[in-house]
């Protein structure tokens, strides 16, 4: 005899929703959807124990519950606070919350290098979105930004510690998804950093998921490093038979080249299915995959600028209007342009392209 799950009424920004007991405010807000959802940088639905670190999801509880209607004295982290029956929460309707969130964003950006022009996460970075929505135009910080000694995390994962916001998502991922964790957070306070204590590469299976989980550009795919900007690649849903994972991925293509493979993400930017390292780093050919079709990208994202989803490729009309005659002169774009040279296969290069790669193609031409 299963006990009936108690439903609780919670009102977020004057919208009432009924949720089961034990739901957090953030989850309840996500059930409503839209603008009332607080942003979350560290909380991850699929990672147990995550949340409560970044403080971007702060909300005001103006009425604790039906039984105890007193408001909570301070703003609370919505990802870690459970709902109570009759609770009233204010997110975007509370100036206090918006003010606090602006402050949090300013703190997160305090030591952030703002090197978006060279960062591979740019375009799908949650910190970028957050800064765009809540950030100030300039920093008030007058001191030197902290820097770290560079750690090498092996051939697959690139670490940029200066970009890290210490959300701990990658630590939980390594604990809960991969079979062994070899990295963690060393030191404390301003010196806290993600590292392997003894220089060691991250190479156990499923560790590649830390790249997808990272909300900023601290952990990025080394096999995709500097190959292209995210918004110039074409996201395509694909799958393959894989022994260790679901094999459901998103391919990021340039023409027919597969520049990057990531897990599919839902509307909150969270991974739908974890994928293994083999799928992520070693299957960079179209023939390895069964392509399902273009990934849906929200039109608010810069990635949608290519309009691949509803792309109508124009057909050649020349022969149609000239009674079937083929054009006499056709210019091959590669004879005048050196960009996107067909002799260079960027997807075949492990790691970033260097000047040499492009020089060699010039000599051949």
């Amino acid at each position: 005899m299963a006990e009936e799950i108690k439903k609780m009424k919670v009102t977020i920004d004057n919208i009432t929703v009924e949720v089961p007991q034990g739901t957090t405010i953030l989850q309840a807000a996500r059930m409503i959807g839209g603008d009332v959802v607080p942003p979350a940088m560290c909380y991850y639905t699929k990672l147990q124990g995550s949340g409560g670190k970044c403080r971007t999801c702060l909300v005001e509880v103006s009425k604790g519950s039906e039984a105890d209607p007193r408001p909570m004295p301070k703003l609370v982290a919505s990802c870690r606070t459970g709902v109570m029956d009759g609770m009233e929460v204010k997110n975007i309707t509370s100036p206090k919350v918006l003010d606090a969130r602006n402050g949090v964003v300013e703190f997160l950006l305090l030591n952030h290098p703002l090197d978006c022009p060279i960062c591979d996460q740019a375009g799908e970075c949650h910190l970028q979105d957050l800064g765009y929505e809540h950030g100030k135009e300039a920093t008030r910080y007058e001191f030197k930004r902290r820097t770290f000694e560079k750690h090498d995390l092996g051939p697959y994962i690139q670490l940029h510690m200066t970009r890290c916001i210490l959300c701990y998502r990658c630590v939980y991922t390594a604990d809960q998804v991969s079979n062994k964790r070899v990295h963690g957070i060393l030191s404390r306070g301003d010196h806290a950093e993600i590292a392997t204590y003894i220089e060691k590469s991250l190479d156990n299976d499923f560790i590649g998921n830390v790249i997808d989980v990272c909300p900023v550009g601290a952990l990025t795919d080394k096999t995709f490093r500097f190959k292209n900007r995210v918004w110039f690649t074409k996201p395509v849903n694909a799958h393959r038979e894989c022994k260790c994972c679901s094999g459901k991925v998103t391919l990021w293509q340039r023409g027919e080249e597969v520049l990057r493979v990531t897990a599919r993400k839902d509307q909150w930017g969270e991974v739908e299915d974890w994928i293994c390292n083999e799928c992520r780093f070693e299957k960079k050919k179209v023939s390895d995959w069964v392509i399902e079709g273009p990934t849906h990208v929200s039109r608010h994202s810069v990635i949608s600028q290519g309009h691949y989803e509803k792309l109508n490729r124009p057909t050649e009309t020349f022969s149609k209007v000239h009674d079937g005659r083929k054009p006499k002169l056709l210019m091959d774009i590669h004879s005048v342009s050196e960009v996107n040279d067909p002799s260079i296969d960027l997807s075949a290069i492990n790691g970033p392209a260097t000047g040499k790669v492009f020089e060699q193609s010039k000599k051949q031409a």
């Binding site: 978006c116 022009p117 060279i118 292209n228 900007r229 005048v336 960009v339 970033p352 492009f358």
Partner: protein, 184 residues
């Protein structure tokens, strides 16, 4: 017909008067205007030898900027390409290797950078989008050419001369605007 506005003029077609039907006075009047121009100041100039000053907001051919030490500013962030309404800009990035620090300012740089001047509409949005102060629209226009090939400008055409090694050329590429600001 009733007029909607009072802007249209109604033409009255009357027969020519005696004075008008002589034609000659009208011809002399016209010729006086024609020959009068001979004694006026010539508006044409001998273009390549003489040049008119550009407007302070003139947008011409692009240059890729360098910093004071002569390192390339561009990091191939792609913002100019995504801002470009004519989709004229393409690029490919590469990682800076140890020993190339004097060539490129940051760890990523544009190994290939092309602007198709046939597509470019010289709107200057690339200049506005650039976060690295790397692309500018200069005070020159694209020279004419017989083939399309000549209009695809690569990095060798776009890069500004080295500010230390080729100082004079660099100053010239910076244009008159820069000098005018300096002289003030």
């Amino acid at each position: 017909m009733a007029q909607l506005t009072n802007r249209a003029k109604i033409l009255a077609q009357k027969p020519l008067t005696f004075w008008e039907s002589l034609y000659l006075p009208a011809i002399f009047k016209g010729m006086a205007i024609t020959f009068g121009h001979m004694f006026k100041k010539k508006p044409t100039i001998n273009y390549p030898e003489q040049k008119r000053p550009f407007s302070s907001v003139f947008r011409g051919l692009h240059v890729l900027n360098r910093d004071e030490a002569g390192r390339e500013n561009c990091t191939a962030c792609g913002l100019c390409a995504v801002a470009c309404p004519a989709e004229a800009i393409t690029m490919e990035a590469a990682e800076r290797q140890p020993g190339e620090e004097n060539l490129y300012r940051e760890e990523k740089y544009a190994a290939k950078y092309e602007i198709n001047m046939l597509r470019c509409i010289f709107c200057g949005l690339c200049e506005e989008a650039c976060p690295k102060d790397a692309i500018y629209l200069s005070e020159t226009f694209a020279p004419s050419d017989f083939t399309r090939k000549g209009f695809i400008y690569g990095k060798e055409n776009l890069l500004i001369p080295h500010p230390v090694m080729e100082k004079e050329k660099f100053e010239m590429a910076r244009g008159q605007r820069e000098q005018q600001i300096k002289n003030k």
